[in-house]
């Protein structure tokens, strides 16, 4: 394998781009296709379950919201882990996402604080 120097002066390997070059090589990808189809089917099934559960009375609206958000979080986890390959990603991506999670949770926490000290009430 040859080495070249790019514009930043880093060394990089010259690879045969027409062959499958990395861990997502053709053989591995072929194995995953079935999994992608299964995840798609699961997501559509859970969409139907979400709709069904919304017509079940869990006592209070808060309980219904909690159930729906639980199912939505499960679906979102599937999308992120499988379709977005987060179940097997490099460390840098996880580092970025840890910060994102921290700040978005902080944002929701601020909203929660604001709710306890509202400016005014809304009628509709």
């Amino acid at each position: 394998m040859n080495e070249t120097h790019d514009t930043l002066g880093h060394k990089s390997a010259v690879v045969d781009v027409h062959a499958a070059p990395d861990e997502h090589g053709a053989h591995n990808v072929a194995k995953h296709v079935r999994k992608y189809l299964m995840v798609g089917a699961t997501l559509i099934l859970f969409t139907a379950i979400t709709v069904f559960l919304s017509y079940v009375n869990f006592g209070t609206m808060k309980a219904n919201v909690a159930v729906a958000m639980l199912v939505a979080t499960f679906k979102a986890t599937l999308v992120a882990a499988i379709f977005m390959h987060l179940s097997n990603e490099k460390r840098l991506i996880y580092r970025i996402l840890v910060f994102t999670a921290f700040f978005v949770l902080g944002l929701f926490f601020l909203t929660y604080l604001a709710w306890y000290d509202p400016v005014n009430r809304f009628n509709h």
């Binding site: 790019d6 514009t7 930043l8 880093h10 060394k11 990089s12 390997a13 690879v15 781009v17 027409h18 499958a20 070059p21 997502h24 090589g25 053709a26 990808v29 072929a30 296709v33 992608y36 189809l37 798609g40 997501l43 559509i44 969409t47 139907a48 979400t50 709709v51 919304s54 017509y55 009375n57 609206m61 919201v65 729906a68 958000m69 199912v71 939505a72 979102a76 999308v79 992120a80 379709f83 977005m84 490099k90 460390r91 840098l92 991506i93 970025i96 910060f99 994102t100 700040f103 978005v104 944002l107 929701f108 601020l110 909203t111 604001a114 709710w115 009430r121 809304f122 009628n123 509709h124």
Partner: protein, 291 residues
């Protein structure tokens, strides 16, 4: 000048550049949608009991659009997988299906769901006049059951000039089923299938009305957040479709012939964006359509 690290990993990050770029962008997108979702939570928690509308959107249509978006997420990941396996024809078809799914999603939203709302009318009755319109509100029935009261009468507005003309003193509304038969226990919770306004017409005096408008963003906090979030989401779908079109057109086949891995990486990055858009919709759908 050749752009570096489009295919090979950059030594310090361990990733090709666009991958890092798209994840940084998605991190900012999380904050953007996070801000809007917090606004939703804030407004909803602070709404008076019964004031947050329930069952105003068409659930079967929303469910279908959710399924279309999920299907497109599957096809875009299969398009990427096809490129990895160097099957350009399969890629071309999967990408075409993805684009069509995006277009159908947008068409349903812009040509059907939104216009239907723009053509729908609601009038919030003043608190001291609720009793006068009891036959349309059914609050005695709701109180017996311990349910929050209704304050809005909605349906199809016959005399649209009433919105602007001060000389018109009343609204004539073809009532929604819930206001046409408000004491029917079947109306306590929303229906799965959309039921259009009935033939029953009610006349509501303007002086009894606290606030009235078509189902526009200014109608209520609910519709303000609904149109803002679904509008921004729709703009993302449109953006995704445009990028996919570029990756599907012959210009990208040239890249495929020169460097198929580069095209695969572009599709992966655009796909990550698309999955994020799908992920946002997974929360939008129950929050606005079902709860």
């Amino acid at each position: 000048m050749e752009i570096p690290y489009t295919v090979t990993a950059r030594p310090d990050t361990g990733l090709w550049n666009a991958k890092v770029g798209i994840w940084l962008f998605l991190a900012s997108e999380v904050m953007l949608f996070g801000g809007l979702f917090s606004a939703y939570v804030f407004l909803r928690l602070d709404a008076d009991p019964g004031a947050w509308p329930h069952g105003l959107l068409n659930v079967p249509v929303g469910t279908m659009n959710t399924a279309i978006l999920i299907a497109s997420s599957v096809t875009v990941v299969l398009a990427w997988a096809s490129l990895k396996m160097r099957k350009y024809n399969a890629y071309w078809w999967y990408m075409l299906i993805t684009i069509l799914c995006g277009v159908i999603f947008l068409a349903v939203k812009l040509a059907y769901e939104w216009p239907q709302k723009f053509d729908h009318f609601g009038a919030f009755i003043k608190k001291d006049k609720l009793e006068k319109y009891e036959q349309y509100l059914g609050n005695h029935h709701l109180a017996e059951k311990g349910l929050p009261p209704r304050t809005e009468i909605s349906g199809h507005l016959h005399n649209k000039e009433a919105l602007h003309d001060e000389n018109v003193k009343e609204y004539e509304i073809a009532l929604d089923p819930v206001n046409a038969d408000p004491s029917n226990p079947q109306m306590d919770r929303p229906h799965f299938l959309y039921v259009p306004p009935t033939d029953k017409v009610a006349t509501i005096e303007k002086e009894d009305v606290e606030y009235a408008n078509m189902f526009l963003p200014k109608h209520s906090s609910y519709f303000a957040t609904y149109f803002t979030i679904t509008g921004l989401h729709g703009a993302h779908v449109l953006g995704g479709v445009i990028v996919f079109l570029y990756l599907w057109l012959p210009v990208s086949k040239k890249l495929y012939k020169r460097n198929p891995e580069h095209l695969a990486n572009r599709v992966e990055v655009a796909g990550l964006f698309w999955h994020f858009v799908d992920l946002v919709w997974i929360f939008v759908f129950p929050l606005f359509y079902l709860l």
